[in-house]
């Protein structure tokens, strides 16, 4: 018995490094296959593939940074607002105060780093849990962006900004894709080769062990949030350049989209397991999926449904794989017959039954009134 589990574990250990990309790769293949059958000409056009890459590029820096934050068992919900606020401040510096673009862009990214620093201090020094802390700071940053920009749409920026957002190196790939892939590469290097990367994993794996071995846990958490803030601001600059416009309400769903990409890519929400390559494939998967929905002319609002389903199914898949190597599989029927399952089945039946009853009652009353 103990031999069996030891064997299982080595098999799991052997495929462990690849698990993170198996999930998104399978889903990417599924999308490619499906679109290849239904809409091959429109989906695989070069212009459409460029569109997918451009969309993905915007999320790459943030997904890289979020990989570090989540691996440390953290979360950052404020990135959309950081992107909007940094973009707005950059726009004001350029349009109102005539700052040259080459200085306004680094200022925006530094401001993002500062906002990340504030997030980090709120979480580590004021001891506000990251979920609530960054949710509240999201309100603060979004509010400040609204205070500064009111309802204004700031548009028309110097070439440097639009190049960052949608320029192309002639005969090569778009500049934002270069930026996105570069930040991903930097993230991979940082994760595997630096103290910051090593401690990110150890903090997520065991904060107590990290503390006991002398790792500065709080400082490295702050580093992750600073990186996150800077990358969110970079995305804000890229978004401003891509649209050649920015307003206070821009980038509303950055946080959930980026968290989804990272989690789909196999980085564990429970900490300690990081995959930059997984995050990159997660970003690509989401962009391909959203583009596929557009290509199929499915109503925009279904995107939200599809994203949610992808997140739940991939997290459930990882949780299932984790369980399987811990205490073996158990037949589904055995589980269904347990007392707990019976109680849950009764609860579900009750809720569905009540719903049906109310619907029937409502329909009856409606026909009566008519």
């Amino acid at each position: 018995m103990s031999d069996m589990t030891a064997n299982d574990k080595t098999i799991m250990a052997r495929i462990e490094p690849y698990i993170s990309i198996i999930g998104p790769m399978v889903m990417i293949l599924a999308i490619l296959l499906f679109m290849g059958v239904t809409e091959p000409t429109r989906y695989f056009r070069t212009s459409n593939l460029t569109l997918i890459l451009l969309d993905a590029a915007l999320y790459m820096p943030m997904a890289m940074a979020m990989t570090f934050v989540i691996t440390q068992r953290g979360i950052d919900l404020s990135i959309g607002s950081i992107a909007a606020l940094s973009g707005i401040l950059m726009a004001f510096l350029i349009k109102q105060y005539d700052f040259p673009a080459w200085i306004a862009v680094p200022i925006a990214i530094t401001l993002g780093a500062l906002m990340g620093l504030i997030n980090g201090l709120v979480i580590t020094r004021l001891k506000v849990p990251d979920l609530i802390g960054t949710l509240a700071m999201d309100l603060v940053y979004r509010g400040l962006a609204l205070v500064i920009a009111k309802g204004l749409v700031l548009a028309r920026f110097p070439d440097l900004v639009t190049d960052i957002g949608r320029g192309t190196i002639p005969g090569f790939i778009p500049i934002p894709v270069v930026i996105g892939l570069f930040t991903m590469g930097l993230g991979y290097w940082a994760l595997t080769q630096t103290h910051f990367g090593r401690y990110t994993i150890s903090i997520g794996s065991s904060p107590e062990a990290s503390e006991m071995t002398g790792v500065a846990v709080d400082r490295h958490k702050i580093y992750a949030y600073v990186l996150m803030g800077a990358c969110a601001a970079l995305a804000g600059v890229m978004l401003t350049g891509k649209l050649n416009a920015i307003q206070a309400t821009s980038a509303p769903y950055f946080n959930l989209h980026v968290i989804a990409a990272v989690v789909v890519g196999g980085t564990s929400l429970f900490g300690g397991r990081a995959s930059i390559v997984g995050s990159l494939s997660g970003v690509l998967l989401l962009s391909m999926m959203i583009n596929a929905l557009v290509t199929l002319r499915i109503e925009f609002f279904w995107q939200s449904v599809a994203s949610g389903v992808v997140i739940v199914s991939s997290v459930a898949l990882y949780a299932w794989m984790q369980r399987k190597d811990r205490d073996g599989t158990q037949g589904l029927m055995v589980k269904l017959r347990s007392k707990e399952a019976q109680k849950l089945i009764r609860l579900s039946a009750f809720i569905i039954g009540a719903l049906i009853l109310l619907l029937v009652l409502g329909a009856g009353l409606a026909t009566e009134a008519a």
Binding site: A6, K9, T10, M12, A13, E16, T192, Q193, T194, H195, G197, R198, I201, S202, G204, S205, S206, E208, A209, S210, M212, T213, G214, V215, G272, R273
Partner: protein, 253 residues
């Protein structure tokens, strides 16, 4: 075993507010011996070793290493003097490789374009070497996460961390076998014997008198914050030590 004690704790008193956890304890450990500390819960075993490893500062009393008085304000001071501890939790990050865990908090680095980066290759080879040479442990793979290893192997990594980093002279092990099965316990006890032959003083805290009588040379018995006696395992028995722990040796005699 030489005649000069490696470590001497003299008249250690530790008070937490009005509570006296240690009421004047003496403890002596020699190089190349395993000294077990036994006692009931609340007897002051943990407090005693926390004073020895610099985690707590004693209210009264002194600690001598090779006859020289130590001033330790923190655990890192103790490590610098060659006194380290392996805790029951082992302080391992399960997702990291054995080598990464062994060097956690004090990674080996190399220079890359003026930046200090991790030298993963060197850490791996050093970890492999220390595990093999000092502890006689060979892992099937050094690239797996630590949580895929057995309890005894995990113990070995935690010990290897202590053995590598300090010019280690005293190793305190807090309940190393408490969470292990019989086979893993046997392996861990073997590791302790290996360390003894390398001239370390191993101080072992354990509830299992069987383990204590298997590896320890001497047993220091704590009761209610005081050392109530030291016996040689060769000249004593489980019954006698048990009697000392519960304070019944007079009645028994």
């Amino acid at each position: 075993m030489t005649d000069q004690p490696l470590v001497q704790m003299r008249g250690i008193v530790k008070k937490f507010g009005g509570v006296t956890a240690l009421g004047g304890v003496d403890l002596t450990a020699y190089a190349g011996e395993v000294l077990a500390i036994v006692g009931d819960n609340g007897a002051g075993k943990s407090t005693l070793i926390k004073v020895l490893t610099g985690v707590y500062q004693s209210t009264e009393g002194e600690i001598l290493l090779n006859g020289a008085r130590l001033e330790m304000g923190s655990h890192s001071d103790a490590i610098a003097e060659g006194i380290d501890a392996v805790y029951q939790t082992l302080a391992l990050a399960d997702h990291l490789t054995p080598a990464a865990n062994m060097f956690l908090g004090s990674e080996l680095t190399r220079n890359m374009l003026g930046i200090r980066v991790l030298d993963n290759k060197l850490m791996k080879s050093e970890a492999t070497r220390v595990l093999d040479e000092r502890l006689g442990v060979r892992l099937r793979s050094m690239d797996v996460p630590t949580d895929s290893l057995s309890g005894g192997q995990r113990q070995a990594i935690a010990i290897a961390r202590a053995v590598y980093h300090a010019d280690l002279r005293v190793l305190v092990m807090d309940e190393p076998t408490a969470a292990l099965g019989p086979q893993e316990t046997a392996r861990t006890l073997k590791l302790i014997k290996t360390l003894r032959t390398q001239g370390l003083a191993v101080i072992l805290i354990s509830h299992s008198l069987d383990d204590v009588f298997e590896v320890a040379d001497r047993v220091h018995v704590q009761r209610r914050g005081r050392g109530v006696g030291v016996v040689k395992t060769a000249e004593s028995s489980v019954q006698e030590v048990l009697g000392m722990i519960v304070g019944a040796q007079d009645a028994a005699a």
